[in-house]
């Protein structure tokens, strides 16, 4: 991902124009103030608001999980970004720009939650007759997980075991050397699966990490001591050529999110109760919109780019 390096966090907070500081601001009532970000419409929006997702979320639950929550997250995003450089950017752009800045953790959280929540609701369908996954996708699933049932079992187990709120993603991993494959990725709280925001992937619950495993070293130092730092020869496995090739090219996109489930409690607590997480996840699996997943999985490199 092409990441713009922000030299200092302060410049993101400066107002967009000097004139705004010179001329006294008129007091505009909140209802009339222009809102830059607003809740995006979903497919079958009216039916969703009226009836929820039959078999998964009731109408009041849907209202809490989408209408109220997304509205709140978008409003907070507006408040955080209004008058700054980020005010006109999409939530995805905002989260990528603020992923490395601890001073903007709140802005990142709201942008990331807006993105993740919308991604989750885009992947749900109200239709009983669900289109099956495409052949390419089924083949990729069979290759990575040996069958659709295994994928389901693995996915739901990961989501069930996650202690606390977060999202579980099905991603397509496209590294340079090895074969592209599907993986399951869990992100806690407002973590993002996007490669440009890998600083805030938040894929690990630190309670399950053993600090003694790192032998008292920091993560960076441990990584330095465990990975090969030098090269040998010109051609071969450990050559300079290989190490050059393994560097990610500019604009590289190694991970594509395909599907996600929202395991935040406010989504399923109303309908399923504190012990109903498993039931919620099973119901969600039956409501996946595979046409959306097919479309996202169909991004493939061809040789037609730039006239080659």
């Amino acid at each position: 991902m092409i990441i713009q390096s922000l030299s200092s966090p302060q410049h993101l907070l400066r107002p967009a124009s000097r004139a705004a500081r010179c001329i006294p601001q008129l007091s505009i009532p909140p209802a009339q103030r222009r809102r830059l970000h607003s809740v995006p419409p979903l497919k079958d929006n009216n039916a969703l608001v009226k009836e929820g997702v039959p078999g998964l979320l009731s109408a009041p639950s849907f209202k809490t999980a989408w209408t109220d929550y997304q509205g709140w997250v978008v409003q907070k995003l507006n408040e955080k970004t209004a008058g700054t450089q980020l005010e006109f950017d999409d939530p995805k752009t905002v989260l990528l720009k603020t992923a490395r800045e601890p001073a903007f953790a709140a802005t990142f959280n709201y942008a990331s939650m807006a993105f993740n929540n919308h991604f989750f609701f885009k992947g749900i369908t109200r239709d009983e007759q669900i289109a099956p996954p495409s052949h390419t996708l089924t083949a990729a699933i069979d290759l990575a997980f040996s069958s659709m049932d295994t994928l389901r079992a693995e996915f739901l187990a990961t989501a069930e075991v996650m202690f606390g709120p977060g999202f579980v993603w099905l991603v397509e991993h496209q590294p340079r050397e090895s074969r592209a494959g599907l993986r399951i990725l869990a992100t806690y709280l407002a973590g993002s699966p996007l490669p440009g925001a890998h600083y805030r992937e938040q894929s690990q619950d630190l309670n399950t990490q053993d600090p003694s495993y790192l032998a008292g070293l920091s993560q960076a130092e441990y990584a330095r001591q465990t990975t090969v730092q030098n090269t040998a020869g010109v051609y071969g496995q450990h050559s300079t050529q290989r190490s050059n090739q393994s560097k990610l090219a500019l604009g590289g996109a190694e991970v594509t999110p395909l599907l996600c489930v929202n395991t935040w409690e406010h989504v399923w607590l109303g309908d399923y109760g504190v012990e109903g997480k498993r039931k919620y996840l099973e119901n969600w699996w039956d409501r996946i919109d595979w046409s959306v997943v097919n479309q996202l999985a169909s991004v493939r490199p061809t040789n037609k780019f730039m006239g080659r």
């Binding site: 809740v39 006109f88 999409d90 807006a114 919308h118 590289g252």
Partner: protein
């Protein structure tokens, strides 16, 4: 000397030998190992390793772009807002001109009342904080009229020159000229480019094109003797700095369009557009609108050409190359095989001439366009 040259020769020969050997081994190594050996450039004798990196860069960029299409806008709907680059990449058309757009672009802001030119009193709405405020409805009216003029001139195959010499106006002027298939100028106007055109622009290449804008070869000798082209319409974004250009246009009966601020003289141009010439955004909006108007005119002209209708008066003094060789000077230029088509064309031409209030005489039938390298 002979000794040195023979040494160099032998070094050269041995280098060539080693290169040949490397080339012959390359193919063998490439087939044997999984890591491809990079080819050696014969001129620099260096390996060309960059190609594999750039290939993968292109591939990953393409994936990134496709992903942006699918997941870039997820999260919220961003309300429409001002994006400066869109004025250059996708300029507004005459139908997009609204008072809100002009107000947002700052077209209403004139200069201090002490700098006022009273000739443009009719365009002024009032005064605020000592600054004259231009009436935006007047601006919109004049802008639409100017757009109509540009459309009609380009529809009749006219050459429009877009001029904007202030810093930052170059991109919008170039874009407008591209849309209207005209010429642009963003550096200083060289005085005499119209009145003394033969000297200043005499070396520019001219070409003869047919009604579908396809170049017709064979007119080189005739073009060599032909006079230099002059624009048929000039659009100026800062008339205060381009007085000489506008004066030359006036001497040569070339109509002009210009952005007239409250300190400018509206008599300097034929079709004034009362607006703020100091705002780059305002200049970009106006240049964009006039460029789009020119694009519409060109489209109408080419559509008519597809049907066989020529929207301008043909030139009388160009001879087709083969007819010239035959020595037949009294023949007319175009002899269509179909008599009905000829009659229809004549009828169309007569209709055009009758309706043509500001008709230009001396337009070439196979009109020649001059590349203005000012």
């Amino acid at each position: 000397q002979r000794f040195l040259s023979s040494e160099i020769d032998s070094i050269e020969a041995s280098l060539q030998n080693s290169l040949k050997e490397t080339h012959s081994i390359e193919a063998y190594i490439n087939s044997a190992s999984s890591v491809p050996v990079p080819p050696i450039d014969p001129d620099t004798h260096a390996t060309t390793e960059t190609s594999s990196v750039s290939d993968s860069v292109a591939r990953y960029y393409q994936i990134y772009k496709e992903q942006e299409q699918l997941i870039g806008k997820i999260g919220s709907t961003v309300s429409p807002h001002y994006q400066p680059h869109t004025l250059l990449t996708n300029p507004p058309s005459p139908s997009d001109v609204t008072l809100e757009l002009l107000l947002a672009s700052g077209a209403h802001q004139g200069h201090h009342t002490s700098l006022w030119n009273p000739a443009n009193a009719r365009y002024i709405h009032g005064i605020r904080h000592g600054i004259h405020v231009i009436s935006l409805d007047v601006t919109a009216t004049h802008l639409r009229r100017a757009a109509k003029v540009v459309t009609e001139v380009t529809r009749r195959g006219g050459l429009v020159l877009f001029v904007g010499t202030r810093p930052g106006q170059d991109r919008c002027v170039v874009k407008a000229a591209q849309l209207a298939k005209g010429c642009h100028l963003f550096e200083r106007w060289i005085p005499g480019s119209i009145t003394n055109g033969q000297q200043i622009l005499g070396r520019c290449r001219t070409k003869v094109v047919n009604e579908k804008d396809e170049e017709v070869p064979g007119f080189e000798e005739q073009l060599y003797e032909r006079a230099v082209l002059k624009p048929d319409l000039v659009v100026c974004l800062n008339p205060l700095e381009n007085y000489v250009l506008l004066h030359e246009c006036g001497l040569n009966n070339i109509p002009t369009i210009g952005i007239i601020d409250t300190d400018a003289n509206p008599n300097w141009v034929t079709y004034p557009i009362p607006a703020n010439d100091d705002s780059l955004r305002c200049a970009q909006v106006i240049a964009g609108v006039l460029g789009r108007a020119g694009e519409q005119g060109q489209k109408l002209r080419l559509q008519a050409a597809e049907k066989g209708i020529i929207t301008y008066t043909p030139a009388q003094d160009l001879k087709l190359p083969d007819q010239k060789e035959a020595g037949d000077e009294s023949q007319d230029i175009l002899e269509p095989n179909d008599i009905e088509l000829l009659e229809k064309l004549l009828a169309e031409v007569k209709v055009e001439e009758a309706n043509d209030g500001k008709g230009r005489e001396g337009e070439e039938e196979q009109s020649d366009k001059q590349t203005d390298e000012n």
